[in-house]
């Protein structure tokens, strides 16, 4: 796998490979890059932010309250596209607990009046 290290502005081009159960990182300039490369290879994760639509109009901004597996992002965004929020929420309120089994909750990052 080829990727770019984001641990510092250097942006080292990393090549990560697995041979016989051993993951090796090539191209990193420092130990942080190796750690990052291995994590991106074996279990890449992202915090996802998006909008949810209100059932009666309007939108509310949301995030996952922790990083989720990268391969769950598409499922989560598809879930968010079909979800309609039918009540008021405040910043920090949990709107959905681990939707699409992504392992994190979807919480509001702004206030929403509901209607």
């Amino acid at each position: 796998m080829n990727t770019t290290c984001i641990m510092c502005p250097m942006g080292c081009a990393l090549t990560v490979e697995e041979k016989g159960g051993v993951v090796t990182v090539v191209g990193n300039g420092c130990p942080r890059g190796e750690k990052y490369g291995k994590a991106e290879f074996s279990h890449p994760e992202r915090v996802v932010t998006t909008l949810l639509k209100g059932l009666y109009g309007g939108v509310v901004s949301v995030k996952t309250d922790g990083p989720i597996p990268k391969d769950k992002i598409a499922d989560l965004l598809a879930w968010a596209a079909s979800y309609r929020l039918d009540h008021a929420v405040k910043t920090g309120d949990v709107i959905a607990e681990s939707p699409v089994s992504c392992g994190a909750n979807v919480v509001a990052t702004s206030d929403f009046k509901g209607k």
Binding site: T3, T4, C5, I6, C8, P9, M10, G11, G29, C30, R46, V47, T49, T50, L51, K53, G57, G58, V59, S61, K63, K70, I73, L77, A80, A81, T91, T109, S110
Partner: protein, 411 residues
């Protein structure tokens, strides 16, 4: 005429931090915000990545704004004027504003903090050729329509410029159901953060082409497509290699300009490089008692730095009113080899430390940053990599300052 110790123009991240800084010194504060809520552009930046330095955790824009807003609104001695647009500012520090609820507002300020932020360069400013259909937006305008209003400007998108807002919008538009066909960057590098290139473009397989620009646009009522071409070393497009990309949307992320229109006609000394005022380490401009902070002073890449800078400006503005702002000889801080600008541009001699912020003019690897005063080296710092898109800083001892300061990079 109303009277306040400190009047802050702008209620975004800079204005709010300045207000809290001024309150720490006991000043009475007027905070004038043109929108109907505090928070500025943070309110439409629903992505995460804010606050790692300032709060030690990762927040979204609205959450970062809320932390400051809650503090500001709970302080009885900060008078917040909403929907209040400042019309004029004099060097005698009389601020005139207008709002729907109060009409004309006139305030005699003890000191003023400018915190008006910046605006985006428009299609006109880059003299974009072609027709004039709907479908061409600055990235920030599309961001507001999407994140605040809930409307998508189009479905097939080309983005010109790889500044952070452009990168962020590439991911946002994709998440909302649009297809981003290309991000074109005229420079051979991106001014955006690495992390945004990886997480906003690479994660979604959005192509980024360097040394490429949009040469013209087509479409009568609605945009139907754009022509892109590579640029030569003089940044001129190679028109023989023009390529047509059908799309209904062009987003522009081609630079930010500090909004200093209020200073037109005043004697405040301006920097041609930053388009902001020339300031000292207290963020005081050449007009006594007028301070400047945040994106109106120089365009930042991290809001954390804005908060820190504005906090200094707010505190200093309050100290100025109390007559406690240290007064001493100033020396100038000038950039040289490899450094595009450094800020503050003036520093007082005396005790304590001062942090110099600077931007380099291109990507440098393994360089040393050197600070001299009166020709003597007073600080050296080795760096792994420095990019123009990421603001750098270096702290120096004021006691070492014996004359004009120069900051540069060397091999």
């Amino acid at each position: 005429m109303k009277k306040f110790d400190v009047v802050i123009i702008g209620g975004g991240p800079a204005g709010m931090a300045a207000a809290l800084g001024a309150r720490e010194e006991g000043a009475t504060v007027a905070l004038l915000e043109r929108d109907d809520r505090l928070g500025g552009i943070l309110n439409q930046c629903i992505h995460n990545g804010f606050g790692l330095h300032y709060f030690g955790e990762e927040l979204t824009g609205p959450e970062y704004a809320k932390r400051f807003r809650d503090k500001v609104l709970s302080d009885q001695n900060i008078h917040v004027f909403l929907e209040a647009m400042v019309l004029s500012l004099t060097e005698q520090k009389v601020v005139r504003a207008i709002s729907p609820t109060e009409g004309l507002i006139e305030i005699q300020a003890g000191s003023v903090v400018l915190a008006m932020g910046c605006r985006e360069r428009s299609a006109g400013a880059i003299a974009l050729a072609g027709t004039r259909p709907a479908g061409i937006y600055t990235a920030g305008m599309a961001q507001r329509l999407c994140n605040v209003e809930g409307y998508l400007v189009g479905k097939e998108v080309v983005i010109l410029g790889s500044g952070d807002i452009g990168l962020i919008m590439a991911r946002r538009m994709t998440s909302e159901g649009a297809k981003v066909k290309l991000v074109a960057e005229i420079m051979p590098f991106s001014s955006g953060l690495k992390r945004n290139i990886v997480q906003c473009l690479n994660d979604y397989d959005i192509p980024l082409r360097y040394s490429t620009t949009v040469t013209r646009v087509t479409g009568k009522e609605r945009l139907t497509g754009v022509y892109v071409a590579p640029v030569d070393e003089k940044m001129q497009p190679v028109l023989e290699q023009e390529e047509y990309i059908p799309c209904d949307t062009l987003l522009l992320s081609v630079g930010l300009i500090p909004e200093n229109d209020l200073l037109t006609g005043t004697s405040v000394e301006m920097s041609r490089v930053t388009s902001g005022a020339v300031v000292d380490e207290y963020r005081q401009t050449s007009a006594e008692g007028i301070f400047s902070a945040g994106n109106v002073l120089h365009v930042h890449d991290l809001v954390d730095n804005v908060s820190e800078e504005a906090y200094i400006a707010g505190r200093s503005a309050a100290k100025y009113v109390k007559g406690e702002l240290p007064f001493s000889v100033t020396v100038s801080v000038t950039p040289a080899s490899g450094v595009r600008y450094a800020l503050p541009q003036k520093v007082h001699t005396g005790e304590g430390k001062v942090k110099l912020y600077f931007r380099v003019d291109k990507v440098y690897r393994g360089r040393t940053v050197v600070v001299t005063s009166a020709g003597e080296v007073i600080k050296r710092k080795k760096t792994l990599v420095m990019a123009p898109g990421e603001m750098q800083n270096i702290e120096i001892d004021k006691s070492l300052i014996k004359g004009d300061v120069c900051i540069y990079t060397e091999e």
